[in-house]
Symmetry: D3
Subunit: 244 residues, 6 copies
């Protein structure tokens, strides 16, 4: 039995709200159960030095947690003077995942920076960030098309992410904080709508796991992301209907 009473293959409720950050070219507040992440996409007509003059665009991401997103307050990274290894690992993952479905050459020399800031943390913040980030990116790119900066959406796919794990209740989908901190194995899947794999991360906490266990977790993730794709679709449709 899961602590939350959910079925092993049950996602938490998902809500994606757009437009909350008014200056951003795209923004999405995603809530997956008690986890809440604010994702913004910022467009700049200027790529990083290594791409200048090469005719290609760039998508990158930064991740942060508000100090009191967690059970006890964490020190603010800005006052510590550096981002933790965990923060850097997550923001590299978000950026890499988005670039895997973006046609960077079709963007032209434009850089889009995605900021994912966690307001409330209850497990799965990196997955919620990726799922919300895709919406923010999609809306910013849609705006560029609308403003005729680019001709067509430079997106090769739609991505969403979910975590699965081996817990005392067996293999389960979409771990919350309580499950996550006691899981024997923790896996994150970033998948495309058409079934492609963008990123797989599987970690044994104290005991190695088997290939069969891994395939079970993979199956849970494949089903789970469908609900995220629907939430993304609704959010994008709602946002785009307002801009028309």
């Amino acid at each position: 039995m899961r602590p939350s009473g959910r079925a092993p293959d049950a996602m938490r409720p998902v809500i994606i709200e757009t437009g909350i950050v008014r200056h951003a070219e795209g923004s999405a507040m995603i809530r997956v159960g008690g986890t809440e992440v604010l994702c913004t996409a910022s467009v700049e007509q200027r790529v990083p030095p290594f791409l200048r003059g090469k005719g290609s665009g760039w998508v990158t991401a930064e991740y942060g947690m508000l100090p009191r997103a967690t059970h006890s307050r964490g020190q603010r990274e800005a006052s510590k003077g550096k981002q933790s290894g965990r923060t850097q690992e997550i923001q590299r993952l978000i950026g890499r995942s988005l670039r895997a479905v973006t046609d960077l050459r079709a963007m032209g020399e434009i850089c889009i920076t995605i900021d994912c800031d966690v307001i409330n943390a209850d497990g799965g913040t990196r997955c919620a960030s990726i799922t919300g980030a895709w919406v923010a990116l999609r809306l910013a790119l849609g705006g560029l098309v609308r403003n005729r900066v680019i001709r067509t959406l430079p997106l090769n796919g739609q991505i969403a992410a979910v975590s699965c794990g081996l817990t005392d209740a067996g293999a389960v989908l979409d771990l919350d904080y309580v499950e996550d901190s006691a899981a024997q194995a923790d896996t994150n899947f970033v998948l495309t709508r058409t079934g492609g794999i963008v990123e797989i991360q599987g970690t044994a906490e104290a005991t190695p796991f088997t290939e069969d266990q891994f395939m079970t977790l993979f199956g849970l993730a494949r089903n789970g992301v469908q609900m995220l794709f629907s939430a993304q679709d609704e959010a994008v449709a709602a946002a785009e209907s307002q801009t028309r």
Copy 2:
């Protein structure tokens, strides 16, 4: 005529919502027009080194802006590796203002850290932070009383803050970003409900101003904060009614 069409002595609409950050002992999302700040209060049973064993509590504050709170994206302070002078100045002001109305000795050896994170910036973020921070602090202290950690609310007063300035439309109350960036003088007032002065900051941008002008701005502020006190009262009342 003000860019927003407001009367010189008109505040922007103010809304304070509580409880958004679930782990925090007190939290308030304050919206003053297009400015939106998330304020949380975190209680720790552990004071900073200089106060240990002295029987006194502490209240301190940290301030941050989400990178895309502003018109163009600003670099994340956590990735820059340091907080700007402006950030430090503001967070020192918030902490100092709250301590001026808190009975630190009556708190016992407890430290409350207020985090003010700006989600949307449209002028007056430091004033909105102070006004919202007081609500978060008040709710956290209320919780300590309810949990019998302390006997009575260790608060000597209620504070709110507003900015006034000299603009092309004359002396005006509650500057938005457009007004703020073109003002000849910019003043911030942190006042108590009973008319006391907690902090006054007045700055001439390009031309010194006169004592008369200053007194006019002061008068606008005195009236303006009343609306903030009402919004604080409502927010506290609503939050406390839910916890009973």
Copy 3:
């Protein structure tokens, strides 16, 4: 009765000596009682990036305390690896105050950096810094006129600063360290010779203060700065008579 035996409206003795730092385009050592600050003005033919090509000059300031300026040795900020919030707040104030009386456009694309380094601290270091900084700036600008880099002095006014506070001896002028550390309220006024206000900072330490109290402090400051203006005049006159 004040700890120093001074009358409530009495300044400490003020001496401003110029030319101590030989390489600097302008320099002033200011002593206000036991407080001693070395101020230098450095001219560079190169403005900060945000002003390049705009035909305007810039004035900025940096502040530091020698480690043993204070009663017990403070850690050197260079070895700590960062400037404290207090340091940044003060240097921002000094720069802002000087810019308020400088005609930046008339300077041309020249940057003047003022360094204020505290040799001995006995209260009022930020005010002494501003008063001394104006002399260093004035001398550096005078040199630019003499060297025909600019045609006329790009100064719209003369500024000086003084602190006043509410202490056990009532409202007093020009707080020394003992008074400052026990004051109920602490105010700093940066004023022009013609009576204009450049900056007002008033802070309640533990109890809010009233408008009347504030006006009393303001009155003390208005009188107090006159002595500073005279000391500035003498210092500038002495320095300029040597360069002729």
Copy 4:
């Protein structure tokens, strides 16, 4: 055809030499083709703060690249003043992988720090680091047993790591730098001798990949690590025969 002419399922030659770093409680220089990593294990009788007094040990890792391990010289992280996100990601992976097969409670309050420093980089440095790190850890733990600090080896398993990828030559084992920089997908597998999964990381570079492709890569890895286990066995046997 692979750039190196290797068969798709062929590892590069592997050599593990021990004892090169004389002060270290365990050390291993691992060469996998042109990649060369020096791994040391350092034993301290002192665990990190979060474990003190809990009777449990700790294993952690740090990773670095000598500036000229790569084709063109990279800036030294010590002079840059921070470790890159990539460095932190890799050292977190190494530490996590080793902890998954270590019985931390059986170690007692001892901390073992593994340092992996890359002397020559030709692809697969994180995998070589993990494989070499296990040897260094094994030798250090063996020494603790020999010195009767602990009674039995607190190791639940033997781990090795290898990368596989989708390249123009199809799915291939043990990517070198040329293959790695052009791969469509890059996967790293940390596996135990008994077939358990400790860590899986799969990343699509520009195009998502399929589950079938992933399973092919997984199969290559399963075979490839056998050769690494043999090299580890020989290195440990040789080192231990000398200490007897």
Copy 5:
């Protein structure tokens, strides 16, 4: 002919003034020609961690240059966020030199920190710092004896330092900035009054030099320091006569 017209074996005028920094337990402003360094000694009843409980004292030093001590303004190390290699090298030299003549065990568990801050730089700042630092240290130790914290002066000797170099005018004593920046070789000697060597640093700039040349420079230094010892004696005598 030297740029200054001095004879090859002529020192610049030396003046040492004491007591300028009022809070410091010892202070000396040393002027060697156009070089001016403010040296303070700060006493703390607390040694660094590696000495705690060992019954021994410590002497350490920090060095800094005010930004405009030099011909063109240098960036403030506190705002750069780190001390340069040159700064660190110099402050290590000062501390090491002082410790070589201090009986650390006789001090008891007391730490004396010497701060050397350069007000005006015209060559030889590290040598002037050492010479002035000894005076500040001597006065602080004298105070500890006077206050009966320690029984006798824990000093085994008196040190002074001077630079010599090979220039277009041959081997010369006490290089000023113009000579220093064009010298073929630059040597610094820290010597005791009784002829002992505390530190020798000799550096060829572009061409190696010979043993004979080195011995000539050494001879110049031996004579030159005598004048520094006299200036130290006078300064100490003057300071001590005031404290009686």
Copy 6:
């Protein structure tokens, strides 16, 4: 009697191996007894800003210790976020010494960076670094001549370095760690093959030493470096014979 049983004027065995770092334009692993340093030379067609467009080249050096080169593990400087004063002092010494025998103008606008990384430390790491660095530099310059980037070797001399010290066994050559940590005086000599002095550093640890003692140490060094020059010659000859 020396701890190692060596005669006072006996060097430890010296071996210099080249070509270990495959990407570097020059590399040398030098072993002096138990001290082992990996030196690489990296060529870049780009000089530091202060030399751009001046037609001159540059040689600079960086130094590091692998964390477990020493008896107990030291914190990694990259994770500490800064290089120690000792590290900076040593790398400045290495660069300065190499520049003293390099004809920078003859190099053209090329920068060569020498990295010296200590694998095993047993005293004399800075001297071993300089001796090995010269070989790496020599090989890199030889490559530039071979590739016709420059016409002739821009080297004015050959340098090697050795430490001598006053220990309980008297004046001795080439101190190992045990001797170094207990020496009364420690001197480092960087000498050219033709007898020139490039750098002398002599430091009294607790007692000043005499000129006679210094000259004895100097004599030991003069003889000791001969063995280093031979080892350099052999290493260069072996490396160059392979490239032909």
